[in-house]
Amino acid sequence: MNADDIRAMVQPGRVHRDVYISNAVYQLEMRHLFTNAWVFVGHDSQTPNKGDYITTQVGDQPVIMVRHTDGEVKVLYNRCPHKGTKIAIDRAGNTGKFFRCPYHAWSFKTDGCLLAIPLKKGYEGTGLSETQNGKGMQAVGAVHNYRGFVFARLAEDGIGFQDFFGGSLSSIDNMVDRAPAGRVEISGPPLRYMHKCNWKMLVENQTDTCHPMVAHESSAGTAVKIYEQMGNPEPRPPAMQIIAPFMSPYEFFEDMGIRTWPNGHGHTGVNMSIHSKYDAIPGYFEAMVESYGEERAKAILDENRHNTVYFPNIMVKAPLTQLRNFIPLGADRTLVESYVYRLVGAPEQLTAMSAMYNRMINAPTSIVGHDDLEMYERAQEGLHAEGMQWVDIRRLHTGPEDFETEAVENGTTERQMRNQFHAWAKFMTMSMEDAPGVAAE
């Protein structure tokens, strides 16, 4: 499969089904797309102290994110340079000043540099020190910590962080600005939800505004019905704030609006969103005014973006301080990790609201999540039908589109999905040999 084959899978308004079900495409995504793009690793509050680390994946690559002795966060491949043993397998821990492989006790500084090998004279004259293996644990190509959110690019050379994300960083800004102290911290472990479907289905669904009132009628519609039977009591049950807005009519989602940015990023909820009508939490606005002044505080809180997709594989929900990581484990297997963060300096009820949304919507036990997963898994199976080869994403696509400029459109457009596939083809092919004129910078 070459660059032309990849490009041929993405056509105006449709994509070939092999982008979801082909193992060969998945392997190419890992070696090209997830190598060339900036991919989310973790939040620096997960490793607050020197020697703190977490283990995770960038695409299919095992990595360790660690706080080095100089206070910086490093991202290293989780592989001993000797025999390949994973250096750490617990999800989080503290390694002190150095890592030590449990197999033969090779040890490394927390930036990966080789520290010591037992019985080292056995390597004299062998040339080990001249090899990559003799240097220590390999670091990824580049790391960027943006307001606490750590991203990595596996490739040594390539697009810069700012060029890659551009204007989309405004959603992370809004999420962090919502903290009176201007920073967020992780709050508890993430939900971990296994999906037997392709990772891109989950990413697309983040800006799919024509499914909530259909797929989630059984949860959101039933909630509205029960509430009416109860005589619409006040205060509303929490589920009515969180789940019921999924039943909003099509017109509501049209009016929400969608914004797309270059390189596959985009968000729903330009004008308002299903998160706009939450009850005010006492003391929060006052704390925000104290930090930012009234005008700025209002501007921050009036921005109620729904889902922001950071291409390739995370979603940020700024008004609820959440991040979902869609980790690709195979063409038909995706692990979804859903995190909530605490707004430092804000009343604790905001954290409770974020955690409540997380469990009601994103959990393996969620009555909303159940129907989403059902749709993805049915699609993963249905796409094997040989009679039809293309998946349609042409809603509100009426002419040529320029994805290299920011755009705002009707909230029910599938433009953001097309934007993602435009970026997909770009970052898939830029490092393929037969791609003309896209050599790394």
């Binding site: 939800y193 059984s218 519609g221 954290t351 959990a363």
Partner: protein
């Protein structure tokens, strides 16, 4: 042996209640099951091992009466796609420990180890549970004042868990 005012309640009565509640879940008698719950009671399934705070960090479930009712009504809905076809479940339970037994105050607490099996289509999953029940004796009948369901492998990744473990 229970005589209405609760003072004749035995430990066996408490234990029988736990078995009966579990049987209702396995047989899908959800309306009857909902009636066991006191209005303010919460069904909590922690996400973190030995989690102390149910609300300021994510839990799998922290269901008030409205959410439990919604969950049960949804199971029977016409457009509940993830329940077409329906899931089935099965509990195997160890004899409950009665850790709090105060018949005069009408308060009881049990801890029960269970194996929970849930199945749908070709999939079947097994979960090991430790379930803590807080019970109250109200008008001569046991009611659930709180239920905590801890998963042994709470830190594992799961597909859908659709019924109530």
């Amino acid at each position: 042996m229970s005589e209405g005012n609760g003072t004749m309640t035995t430990r066996d009565d408490v234990i029988d209640f736990i078995y009966a509640e579990t049987r209702m879940l396995d047989e899908g008698r959800y309306t009857e099951w909902l009636d066991l719950w006191l209005p303010d009671a919460v069904y909590w399934m922690p996400l973190d091992y030995k989690q102390a705070d149910p609300v300021n960090a994510t839990s799998f479930l922290y269901e008030d009466n409205f959410m439990l009712r919604l969950r049960v009504e949804r199971l029977n809905g016409e457009r509940t796609f993830s329940q077409k076809p329906k899931s089935r479940c099965h509990h195997v339970i160890q004899r409950p420990f009665v850790d709090l037994f105060e018949p005069e105050a009408g308060r009881f607490q049990t801890v029960t180890n269970m194996h929970y099996v849930e199945t749908r289509l070709d999939e079947q999953q097994l979960l090991a549970l430790t379930v803590t029940h807080d019970l109250a004796m109200v008008d001569g009948a046991f009611r659930i004042a709180g239920k905590k369901v801890e998963l042994l492998n709470c830190d594992a990744a799961f597909g859908n868990i659709q019924l109530l473990p």
